[in-house]
Amino acid sequence: MLLISLAFFISGAVFFAFAPKKGLHYFYLLYAAGAGLAAFSFAQALYNYAYSAAGAPALSFALQISPALSMGFKSGPLQDFFGLLLSLAAFAASVYSSGYMKGTAAPRFQGIFYGLFILSMGAVFLAADALSFLISWEAMSLVSYFLVVSDTESEAAQNAGLTYATMTHIGTAFIIGAFMLAFSATGSLDFTGMAAGLAGQSMTIKSVIFILSFIGFGMKAGIVPLHIWLPKAHPAAPSNVSALMSGVMIKAGIYGIMLMCLHVLGGPGAHYATWWGVVVLATGAASSVLGVLYALMEKDLKRLLAYSSVENIGIILLGTGAAIVFYSFGQTALAGLALAAALYHTMNHAMFKGLLFLGSGSVLHGAHSKNLEDMGGLLKRMPYTGLFFLAGSVAICALPPFNGFVSEWLTFQALILGSSTPLAYSKVITLLGGAALALTGALAAAAFVKAFGVAFLGLPRSPKARDAKEAGLPVTAALGFLAAMCLLLGVAPRIMLRLISAMPFAGLKEMGSAGPLHSPLIIAGGFSGFWPAAILVSMLLGLLIILALAGTWGRNRKITYANSWDCGIRALTPRMQYTATAFTKPLRVIFKTIYRPRKEVRISFKLKPLFVSGITYQSGITPFLENYLYRPLTSFVGKAALKIRHLQSGSLPLYLGYIMLTLIGLLMAWA
């Protein structure tokens, strides 16, 4: 079945290359079909792992590069899970693209590379050894780089692409280091071999491998402080691609972290160091809080979403870190809970972040702007987009009855249960992680209230926004699909948990406990539980009752429509509304140590000091890491390079001197 979907993708790419330019965008439906098939087969494989004794037939093949070198690909539960995530998101994005990518600048290029992008991500998830992994990994990065700069005219996209590509390259260097260390320790480059070999190795080597791979993959996942490329690159790409980048590609980083930490380092009879988990936890907490804090301040819708991706990666890492902590104490059941939370959130984030990015795409299409301050009142003009975007926002704010809540609830439980770890500091860290998660939740709610409220509610702030329109059926259909997924995963979490329980990691089996899909979710031997379906049902019942009452008694009430209350000024203009900036003003004040807000007021006079001709007011926040970490670093390297320039001063005698010195040096050293 995967082969068929592969065929679909390849044929799609071929069509994009050679079909006539007119109506080219319909070929995205081929990708959609391929992705759908892949999703089905991955889900089936996972189901078999979980429930059939035989397990699933693992597909496995190798490409021979030379007699000595070969690239192996192999599927397993973890691989299938991420494959499922990829193909679901890709399905929605492709359907969306078939409507959205009409009349774009470089249709062929974008079509082909879009397909390649999905394929390369699939290859990453299926790679079975370091070589194939690295090749797929860099191919993924390269293709995504081209998609980022696909608007070749814009300088911003170029710079974003440069930053992105360079940082990814550096991250890959760390990954290579990790692989090579494992190779020298075990003499094997395929992951199962590494896992087997590392089981007996010393803790030092494992720790170094852990650190290297955490940094390397974290670079791609966008953990703080390695995230700065993310809010640059994701918005630069076309929205269907940014959906995949934010929804899936950064999950490749998560996949890598789980692969290295849980599979390679966690091989047979492995034991973890607690501090690994603590490191991951702390990073997760930092990423989630800082990510959402910056998201809160963004006026650019897509940058806001990108920052919120940093936040969600942080939440996933909270779960992962807790899992490692639990494993290190041998509390496998709790580790299973934490891991399930992390995996669940990974899937969820793919769904709602995909939904939100696609939604922002159709907002862009409607209002011709990414700037929130130009929007407003879109809900009346783009009802479907608005509805689904709202669903996405509710989901990403982890509010019931949507999926975000389930995973965050699981994470909360895992973190609270961290109090049952034997050491005091692990207790405190996990519980503080919980506090960070709570803070993140509240901040996220504020951020997305701002995003949705300013973009979709109130009065339109620009003429373009006033006559915005929907982008057509495929677009809304794709959004609808993802929104439905969000609701489904929120109401019937057991579906996902059962698939997750197929993972080969200790303690996950228990998470897939039997019982009807709609039954309450009880965890950790009754430590707690809740009933997602019930919340929805009870609210619906309540609604029915209220409506019934209103129907019986409140029929003869009349509703008059009038202006909003405007304090008696007879004209309420859009400029009187709260702007996105104004909405977050209090927080800028409260968190000023982090934001370092700056404002400058320029007053120009006709006749000082009486006649003011104009006042310009600028305010913004200082990007902390960029200013205090990265800029000094880059400038230092630049300075060093400029210094070394004098070695090549152009004078021949000097060069002759080099030859002589080299000779003498070698003679001194070796003769």
């Binding site: 509710v394 609270i416 504020a446 009880i522 009933w531 919340i535 009349k558 405007d566 509304q577 909405f583």
Partner: protein
């Protein structure tokens, strides 16, 4: 359907009364006569009978919000043990689920504030969101303490497992929780429930555009939320007597409720409303309290 499954009706039906009682106590403390304790019922009834004026800027969010707020509060009240610790009806009574269900209502309320496109609405929403950001984590931490102590996040288990402020950690946690209570129910010194002065109002700012039965729903939901939070405080920090037979525990419950109400009224009439940008110091202090409570509990245990 047993006692445990109907106790949520107590919250739905008696929450206006609680509001009335608090108002009465405040009036007494301030040396006024004040309206009767049943006044909130009359208010609700009147509002339900009134016609509505709605801004034409508003979208369907504006119409949906009252229902969602009311229903989410309702759903939340289904999870809390009031006079019997047995797991209440539908949900298992997980405290986190409960709080996030309430948060759903708040989310839409804040949106509704932005919907009419007025400055007041935006102001109210912005401030509400800010307060929520400051309150949420400290409330969570306070809850963590008693959850860890009680060995579960189920309110029923917690309320069964302990008596009254069993450990120093609980005292600190309760102090923090009480501040959170003030903030969440929108009372002085955080918010002023009975003013419509633009510069100070938070909750009132958001619902400024509402009238008629929508307003009624919102107000009722507000009363319910207040009583709900009181109940949670009771379940978390001094659930003694809840284990006994229904009548006895009901009696205890009412007493505790009145005590809390008195405390609330006392604070409200003894303190002046804080400037908005002074809130962080108050709430931040409370946050430190809850943090301390958690750490002391982890370090010292019971």
């Amino acid at each position: 359907m047993g006692m445990s499954n109907l106790q949520f009706l107590i919250i739905i039906l008696l929450s206006p009364l609680l509001q009335g009682i608090i108002k009465k106590m405040k009036a007494y403390a301030q040396g006024r006569v004040g309206p009767g304790v049943l006044q909130p019922y009359w208010d609700l009834a009147r509002l339900f009978r009134k016609d509505m004026v709605i801004s034409e800027t508003a979208s369907w969010i504006f119409h949906a919000t009252p229902f969602i707020v009311f229903l989410s509060t309702l759903a939340a009240s289904l999870m809390v043990p009031v006079i019997t610790p047995d797991a209440p009806v539908l949900a298992i009574g997980d405290i986190i689920a409960l709080l996030y269900t309430l948060a759903l209502g708040r989310f839409f309320l804040v949106l509704a504030g932005l919907d009419a496109g007025t400055a007041f609405g935006g102001e109210g929403s912005s401030r509400e969101a800010t307060v929520a950001i400051l309150v949420e984590p400290m409330m969570m931490l306070a809850i963590f303490t008693s959850a860890v102590a009680g060995g579960s996040t189920k309110l029923s288990v917690i309320s069964k497992s302990m008596h009254i402020l069993d450990s120093p950690a609980h005292v600190l946690a309760f102090a923090a929780f009480f501040v959170a209570l003030i903030a969440d129910t929108g009372r002085v010194p955080v918010d002023n429930p009975d003013t419509h002065l633009e510069l100070t109002m938070i909750h009132e700012g958001m619902v400024l555009e509402y009238s008629g039965r929508y307003l009624a729903l919102l107000e009722w939901a507000h009363y319910m939320k207040q009583m709900l939070l009181f109940t949670i405080a009771i379940d978390l920090f001094f659930p003694f007597g809840i284990k006994g037979d229904a009548l006895r525990s009901a009696l205890f419950y009412i007493i505790k409720l009145l005590v809390l109400a008195a405390a609330m009224a006392a604070t409200e009439s003894s303190r002046a409303k804080l400037r908005f940008f002074q809130l962080p110091s108050l709430l931040g202090g409370a946050f430190v309290l809850s943090l301390l409570s958690l750490i002391t509990f982890v370090m010292l245990g019971r």
